[in-house]
Symmetry: C2
Subunit: 267 residues, 2 copies
DNA sequence: TTGTCAATTTATGTATACATTGCGAGGCCT
DNA sequence: AGGCCTCGCAATGTATACATAAATTGACAA
């Protein structure tokens, strides 16, 4: 409206009819975020086939946004690891070999181990440690039940994610925190990625018991400034995720895990 | 942009300004890459002050490209770690605390250690190992001289970079290779980052001798499938970089290291 | 029938116009 | 005189037009 402000014009004061034709009235904040979320959802849901090329124009007609925010969202998803940049421009839904998945989880465990070691060596403010302990206490309550229903399970996923996020903050380094978030962005590399698999099986609870013990022990190690031990625990903790993911891929209902569709079976 | 100052022009609504073909034939590939390279150069050279905000329009008039490729380049530089995204949009030249620098180097050492361990555990094709050995042999030749001149020094930097790149390939995992490249993208976190510092000092050669010994030993460890040892060596190798960088920051001619300007002295 | 070349089509790369929002300067009211 | 409110500006976010290169398809010739 005020675009044509050639000079300090007399205040014509006409607010003018604000034409806001924006197709989607509300929802999220920016187009980029909306497109990014929607695309990620579509990729994980399998609506965009693994390995298939993604043309900007096809997204335009699917989501209604223009190419500029779509390009930005595609770049972010590439950074996130869900898309691969093609040599001659454009993107394709990324596929992962089992080794890549394994490497991704191993890398997460290694970096979480580094973070735990740094936290132990540098020391952590008691208040922050307490926050982590309270988080674990909530998980303890959850696990006291002899069997865990779906609702308790999804609560565990949330608490587990929170704990790992808290752990990433323990070294008191924004840099480490960001790198951990980055390496955890892939759905199956995420700390909570594997958990979703076998909700109601009897082994499910036992698995979580083991994981929870590692949670407590790493906090104990950090509290007692045992850096090497803290490192080792977090690495082993990630091996648990690797075991579970491997199981998940052989299970029939593998679609319970969002990203598994992107893992190419080596037949 | 037709606002008030600079730039033309009355724009008498003639729709004709057929954008003429980019006048110069240009030798580089794409605008995005050109802008990215130029901006990185300017940041490292200090032409863009550390911590200062970077407006897209200012880059437009500095480099001549339009906003679209500039935005893409800015996103890439943020991913690279040289820029920080501001909360309300826009970017600023990133500054680093000494701890962040330390963490970055530690992280690189940790991931290189993981790569070396994986290479040892999985085994490496002899041909690839030989390539790495030949690279080290060239460094050996360089270090046989009792003193190293500038030209030999820059040759070392190249060979050192090559060796670390080769090392990143040893696990045979594109994923690991990419992550190592990523974590090495920051100028001071790069394996060759610290080397540039003290070219002609007498201790310079000794430092390189130690580093080169670690190079050989990690290959030896990988050859003999000693994963833990390979891991430990690479971690310690990165501590050498940390020591050197700390020295470099206290040295007077610190401008020899490109990225040091971005490290804020904690007074 | 097959191979090759060319033309069309469709993709991304680029430039720019338009929209919107956050921040600051300036005036007005208290 | 000082604080608050408002207006204006400059920044990014968005949409789209234009340029160019790659891929596919069609036709023609061997």
């Amino acid at each position: 409206m005020n675009a044509s402000h050639s000079k300090p014009a007399p205040s014509t004061a006409v607010p003018a009819p604000l034409q806001t034709p924006v197709a989607a009235p509300e929802e999220a904040s920016s187009q980029v975020v909306k497109v990014q979320l929607k695309l990620r959802e579509m990729i994980l849901a399998g609506e965009l086939a693994a390995g298939s090329r993604i043309a900007e124009l096809s997204i335009v007609e699917k989501l209604g946004a223009s190419r500029t925010p779509i390009r930005a969202a595609l770049m972010r998803l590439e950074q996130e690891g869900l898309l691969a940049a093609l040599p001659n421009g454009g993107y394709a839904v990324r596929t992962f070999s089992e080794r890549e998945v394994s490497d991704a989880i191993e890398l997460r465990g290694t970096i979480e181990g580094l973070a735990a070691r740094l936290a132990a060596e540098r020391g952590v403010a008691p208040s922050v440690l307490d926050e982590a302990r309270q988080c674990l206490a909530q998980i303890d309550v959850l696990l006291q039940a002899p069997a865990i229903d779906d609702e308790g399970f999804s609560r565990y996923v949330v608490l587990n994610r929170d704990f790992h996020a808290l752990l990433a903050k323990l070294p008191g380094s924004d840099f480490m925190q960001r790198e951990i978030e980055r390496v955890s962005s892939l759905p199956f590399a995420s700390p909570s990625g594997f958990v979703i698999v076998q909700a109601n099986t009897p082994q499910a609870r036992d698995m979580l018991i083991v994981a929870q013990d590692q949670h407590w022990q790493v906090l104990d190690a950090i509290t007692h400034r045992e850096g090497g031990r803290a490192d080792a625990i977090m690495r082993e903790h990630s091996r648990l995720a690797q075991r579970n993911l491997r199981d998940a891929m052989q299970a029939p209902g593998k679609h319970a895990v969002p990203g598994v569709r992107l893992i190419k079976q080596h037949a």
